[in-house]
């Protein structure tokens, strides 16, 4: 469990990083927090010729919060974002999900953007980005910058839509709208494990406090984050008279999770039902509490 040989670059500026990535193209791998990449290297499951370590690029260690949303730089650690109270006010779902990632020691190293770029189908943050309709900002020496919407960014399991030479420089998580609430729940084998299944829910109410929009994102059920709009199933009713279990049943029928060594497909699907109901109720309650608080 020692990595195969690789060349190592540690640029200090974004431009140097992009130049290095341009030079090595598909032979290069970006090293951020290393919490996923280093194990892959040690198990010799990845054997990049060059490692481009972005940890010295201080300019990427940013968290910007404004009324439109939360913009997170490529070097912002998960732990920092988890503790950012201003970010939590604008978009509580990020922090709600972050708490389910591993343990504090890992979150102290792991980055938010690294988790998105890793694109693990069981990871929490990709689902959050997807259900919120966020995007990943990428840059390259040749092509400048572009924003890739979440729906396109997660192209497959462990397959982000990044071209050789591209660096993900940041991610944008849109703000929560008015009268809206979020919730996150997952079932993991042990505290901090990747979830067997998980659901992120966003519920928005209208002026009459009826459900105006309800979306869920599911992890662990497909190669990429699975997003489902349940607004119509819930039928614009006040939360008290919503048929949450019908929505859960709907979600359950919509997913086709596969079995792995930790759980069968039927169980995962069952969990999606349970967690959908739990998170929708909680998100609706949060939406209403928010209104009452204001």
């Amino acid at each position: 469990m020692k990595p195969p040989p690789f060349a190592y670059r540690a640029p200090r500026t974004l431009d140097e990083a992009l130049a290095a990535l341009a030079e090595y193209g598909a032979d290069a791998k970006v090293l951020a927090g290393g919490q996923s990449l280093i194990p892959l290297l040690n198990m010799r499951l990845a054997a990049p010729a060059v490692i481009v370590d972005i940890n010295r690029i201080g300019a990427l260690d940013t968290v910007f919060v404004d009324a439109t949303g939360v913009r997170i730089g490529a070097l912002a650690r998960q732990r920092r974002v988890e503790r950012a109270t201003d970010a939590a006010r604008v978009q509580p779902l990020i922090g709600q999900a972050l708490r389910h990632i591993a343990h504090p020691v890992i979150r102290v190293r792991g980055t938010v953007v690294g988790s998105l770029a890793h694109a693990d189908p069981a990871a929490e943050l990709p689902v959050v980005l997807a259900v919120l309709g966020g995007s990943v900002e990428v840059a390259s020496a040749a092509g400048g910058r572009r924003a890739i919407p979440a729906a396109e960014f997660f192209a497959g399991a462990l397959e982000p839509a990044l071209r050789p030479g591209e660096l993900a420089v940041g991610a944008f998580f849109p703000a929560l709208g008015p009268r809206a609430g979020t919730a996150f729940a997952e079932t993991a084998r042990r505290h901090g494990d990747y979830g067997l299944a998980g659901v992120a829910a966003v519920v928005a109410l209208d002026d009459d406090l009826r459900v105006a929009a309800a979306r869920i994102g599911c992890l662990g059920v497909a190669a990429t984050p699975f997003v489902l709009d349940l607004t119509d199933v819930l039928g614009h009713r006040p939360p008290d008279s919503c048929d949450w279990s019908a929505a859960a049943e709907h979600a359950k029928r919509a997913v086709r999770p596969e079995a792995d060594i930790h759980a069968g497909g039927d169980y995962r699907r069952h969990l999606i039902g349970v967690l959908t109901e739990r998170t929708l109720r909680a998100a609706a309650a949060a939406a209403r509490d928010g209104v009452i608080d204001d």
Binding site: M1, K2, P3, P4, P5, P39, M43, R44, T187, R189, R190, H191, G192, D193, L196, I261, H262, A263, G264, D266, Y267, H270, L271, V274, L275
Partner: protein, 812 residues
């Protein structure tokens, strides 16, 4: 016992060093040694056709590549079968490097030595081994079906078959007793594979001294003395030219009692051949596929009982999955078959096991060593009987318990040490009473009903066990007082975190009457102590503890003799306290132990003030006697051995309350209670620590861990990402209480405590989940997915038979 240290919960003396990073583990040593890495089989069963090393040769830093053809001599022979047994008619072991057939994924095929481990792995990656795949045998059922064979010359894949029978008091055999019993039940119980999984894997570091023609080997082992003998034999060296040291060892839990590992032979062999230091540190993936596993067994139980639940006949047949080889003999299934009976008298008993080869990692003892499976059988049987009769589960157990007046109690079986299974002492009804009180057994029904009203599912489970501990043949202790008053205690067995530095010092301090600060303990270093067996089977406190106590007593007598001379007193009037020998009732007349040490060694040459006191013109006394009296030896030191006639039998009862999530089928252990009897407690804090760790491992085995092989014999979860050991977050606070029934078999009255925590946990958790769910639990471990599927099955069954079957399984 003289002072109060024995029995005191003093903090562990080794911890300040270990928790501040000053431990010296195997990989902390030999920073400049060459590194070894291994090419290991990717196939579960295959013939090795050819090995092409050409690609490795241009890796810069490569020093050597070895395959079986290079070994020669005894190094090339199969590894030893450590514990032969007449029933092991087809024992098989592997070669240090595969000779022509590999029989599990991970079996070593070639060894690479390079200047560092990175390069060694690069080179290993480039060695091309041609394999001709053979059909793999995976799983107990497939092994029993024997459509394919693991070893060509082992028919039916059966390495061993052993039957033990004890007729009932009326002379009836178990089958006959069951036939005549008023009630009968028959069922299958299964436990899956897990593994010891110490945080530090194995590791070997060897230094050959060409001038001295001697070898020093450091190994992360549970038995340095026996590794030494094995290396000496394999490398054809005089034992006196081999020293083996176990440095700090980061956990063993059984796997490191196996020896010599291929690497333990090959690394010293290569070091001698190359004239260079060589080190190999096992990585986690290697540990999963190349060390040893345990627990996989399937049991078929038949039981006959009366209206009270008294067991009249018990007939257990089980299949043991031995993996590819049997280096440690059939110790695990023997322990299951004998310890299964626990604290109960069962009328007639018959047990039969078949030990089967499969193309998986070999099976050797893991903490508990077959007992968890046996206790699972017995305790699940008790619960089944209780359900069948509609009686309280503790009443059925109470009806079967051996009573305090029955000791010594002979179960009529032959134990793992080849000696009769005779329990030395215990009070099992009291254990049961205490655990019921600790967990609140009698009030639980109310709590369960109240929780149910709020939509919560709680369940209570309980299990009892008896654990044979402190098996022979022997251990020794050496104690020496030096001229500055320091006391050096050493014993040959090794430490893997048990707290030996503390308890052995407590014993010595209490026996000698010296401050514990003056005592230094050395374990597992053959330079200090050459005769020993090893640390396993909860035996260190019993064996080495007593040997050290005996050595201290002998040393104390000698010290008193010498002091008596110096003080012109009768030794019987002397006492030692705080390291000072004095005349009882006359504190003015005293002599420090360090001076006694000086006087014990009559000197010709003085090299310091203390020594000067022992030189020929300084000591007074008679000039017509030899300076060293006849029968005495110079020096205040001595060695004693303790060799027990039989094992001592610790016992306990555990109970737990679990909560199952009605929706997600997750299981949470809310409370876990342990009542434990290991005889006299040397240090209750250490015993509790052992119990806590054991229970945590047991919860791992019950709810999280399993080794998952696919049909090709590939281990699918060979990493800590997928092999789920519980974190602290999964383990509840553990409540403990102690009972002390001293062992009459040894001077200290102690029994072993190392394995107790792990033994009954699967039985307890299964019972608790069954109680919460009303669904029979017959296989462990159980995951949420398993529970989900059991619920679905119960629901379907209830639909089909209007709930009769599902209802019946619910214990009262």
């Amino acid at each position: 016992m003289t002072t109060k240290l024995f029995g005191e919960p003093i903090p562990r003396r080794e911890d300040p060093r270990l928790v501040t990073g000053r431990g010296r583990f195997l990989d902390d040593l030999g920073g400049r040694a060459l590194a070894a890495a291994f090419v290991r089989s990717p196939h579960a069963h295959a013939r090795v056709v050819d090995i092409d090393v050409a690609g490795a040769l241009d890796v810069e830093g490569l020093v050597a590549v070895y395959t079986w053809d290079d070994l020669g001599g005894r190094v090339g022979e199969p590894l030893p079968l450590l514990i032969p047994h007449p029933a092991l008619t087809h024992g098989r072991t592997g070669y240090p490097l595969a000779r022509d057939v590999v029989r599990h994924v991970g079996e070593p095929v070639a060894m690479v030595v390079a200047t560092d481990r990175y390069l060694a792995e690069d080179a290993a990656d480039r060695i091309l081994v041609g394999y001709e795949p053979l059909p793999p045998v995976v799983g107990i059922e497939a092994a029993a079906a024997a459509d394919h064979l693991v070893h060509e010359d082992v028919p039916g894949n059966a390495g061993a078959r052993l039957v033990q029978e004890v007729p009932g008091p009326d002379g009836l055999s178990a089958p006959a007793a069951i036939e005549r019993a008023p009630h009968r039940l028959e069922f299958r119980l299964a436990i899956e594979r897990s593994a010891s999984m110490p945080l530090e894997g194995r590791g070997v570091y060897a230094r050959w001294d060409a001038d001295d023609e001697s070898l020093r080997v450091y190994s992360s082992t549970q038995t340095s003395t026996s590794v030494r003998m094995a290396i000496a034999a394999k490398l054809d060296l005089p034992p006196a030219k081999v020293e083996v040291i176990a440095p700090d060892v980061g956990g063993g839990f059984g796997v490191k009692i196996v020896h010599p590992w291929p690497e333990e032979i090959l690394v010293p062999w290569a070091a001698r051949l190359l004239g260079r230091e060589v080190k190999w540190t096992e990585d986690r993936r290697e540990h999963f596929t190349s060390s040893a596993h345990e627990r996989g067994q399937v049991h078929f139980v038949r039981v006959g009982f009366d209206d009270e639940g008294r067991i009249l006949g018990l007939d257990v047949r089980f299949l043991h999955d031995h993996g590819a080889y049997t280096p440690y003999g059939i110790i695990v299934p023997i322990i299951t078959s004998t310890q299964l009976l626990g604290p109960y008298k069962v009328g007639a008993y018959r047990v039969e096991f078949t030990s089967l080869y499969t193309n998986t990692v070999q099976v050797t003892p893991y903490r508990g060593a077959g007992r968890p499976q046996g206790v699972f059988c017995m305790e699940r049987t008790m619960d089944r009987v209780a359900v069948h009769l509609g009686r309280d589960r503790t009443l059925v157990r109470a009806a079967n318990l051996i009573q305090p007046g029955d000791f010594p109690y002979d179960q009529g079986l032959t134990f793992q040490d080849g000696r009769p299974l005779i329990y030395d002492s215990g009070d099992y009804p009291e254990l049961l009473r205490m655990v019921k009180e600790l967990i609140g057994w009698d009030d639980f029904g109310k709590a369960q009903t109240e929780a149910a009203v709020r939509g919560r599912r709680l369940g209570l489970g309980l299990a009892c066990y008896v654990e044979g501990t402190g098996v022979g043949p022997y251990e020794g202790g050496h104690v020496e007082v030096d001229s500055s008053g320091r006391v050096h205690v050493s014993t040959g067995l090794t430490s893997q975190g048990q707290g030996h530095q503390t308890v052995f010092a407590q014993i010595a301090a209490a026996e000698l009457g010296v401050p514990i600060e003056d005592i230094r303990v050395t374990t597992g270093d053959t330079r200090r102590f050459r005769y020993a067996v090893g640390t396993f089977a909860s035996r260190a406190a019993v064996l080495s503890g007593n040997a050290i106590a005996l050595a201290c007593r002998a040393l104390r007598d000698k010290a008193l003799r010498i002091a008596a001379d110096a003080l012109e007193a009768d030794p019987r009037d002397l006492e030692i306290e705080d390291g000072i020998v004095r005349i009882r009732g006359n504190p003015a007349a005293s002599i420090p132990l360090r001076t006694v040490a000086v006087l014990s060694n009559p000197l010709r040459y003085a090299f310091d003030e203390e020594a000067a006191r022992a030189t020929q013109f300084a000591v007074g006394g008679s000039t017509d006697q030899p300076p060293v009296a006849e029968g005495e030896q110079p020096g205040l030191e001595g060695t004693q051995y303790y060799s027990p006639v039989r094992s001592t039998f610790a016992a306990g009862a555990h109970a737990a309350i679990v909560e199952t999530d009605p929706d997600t089928a997750e299981v949470r252990v809310l409370r876990y209670a342990v009542v434990h009897d290991c005889g006299r407690l040397i240090n209750p804090r250490i015993v509790e620590g052992q119990i806590h760790g054991g229970v945590a491992q047991g919860i791992g085995g019950a709810l999280y861990e399993r080794l998952i092989y696919d049909e090709h014999g590939q281990l699918l979860n060979a990493s800590f990402m997928d092999f789920l050991m519980p974190y602290a977050t999964e383990i509840p606070a553990i409540e403990t209480a102690h009972l002390e029934t001293p062992s009459p078999l040894n001077p200290l009255g102690v029994k072993g405590a190392g394995e107790a925590g792990v033994i009954p946990v699967s039985a307890v958790i299964a019972a608790a989940i069954e109680d919460a769910e009303g669904i029979r639990i017959e296989e462990m471990p159980i995951s949420p997915d398993d529970l989900f599927r059991l619920r679905e099955r119960a629901r379907r069954a209830a639909g089909e038979s209007s709930g009769a079957e599902a209802g019946e399984a619910r214990p009262v």
